[in-house]
Symmetry: C2
Subunit: 105 residues, 2 copies
């Protein structure tokens, strides 16, 4: 990635992906890579702890999917997670606008 740029914005990305349907960790990594045009090619050591953190905060809930050939932990947004997503979207808009205003782009 680009240094420390992602810090503080990863939650928004994860919540966004999961707002469009439940998914397991590895699939989230793929989605992020595809939707960002390859920029967000994040290591597992970034994604898994982040998902655990979000679940701990009550924004996600997970279950083991046993019917698939491989064991997978599938995450989905909680109601609280949906509200958090809306808030993070607002914060991103405000933040990016403020950066653009400061940098004059």
């Amino acid at each position: 990635m680009i240094g420390e740029a992602l810090k503080g914005h990863l939650d928004l990305l994860l919540l966004t992906i999961l707002s469009e349907g439940s998914a397991h960790g590895y699939a989230v990594i793929d989605s992020l890579r595809q939707r960002s045009g390859g920029l967000f090619d994040l290591p597992e050591g970034t994604i898994y702890p982040a998902l655990h953190r979000l679940e701990k905060q009550g924004l996600l809930k997970s279950r083991w999917r046993e019917d698939s050939p491989r064991r997978r932990r599938v995450y989905e947004l909680t109601t609280k997670g949906q509200q958090a997503l809306a808030k993070r979207q607002d914060e991103w808009k405000i933040f990016s606008r403020a950066v653009n205003a400061t940098v004059r782009i």
Copy 2:
């Protein structure tokens, strides 16, 4: 500020401010507050260490301005700092575009 959102983007802001003329720390804080519409109201404990860091990296150079009533350390961009600014601007564009693409704003 908004949590950890600023992390990794502060250098871009500081280099931008100083690219438009030399300034001392306190003035930089004011500029950031004004240009961001009040959002970037950053504490001195954020600004001063950041300026020191940038100077250590050779992107800024500073001198004590003695002719003003108060002692002030005035910073200005080096050539290396100008190049770094251009790079940070590119990175910000790429990053914000990728976030917007992922979030679909």
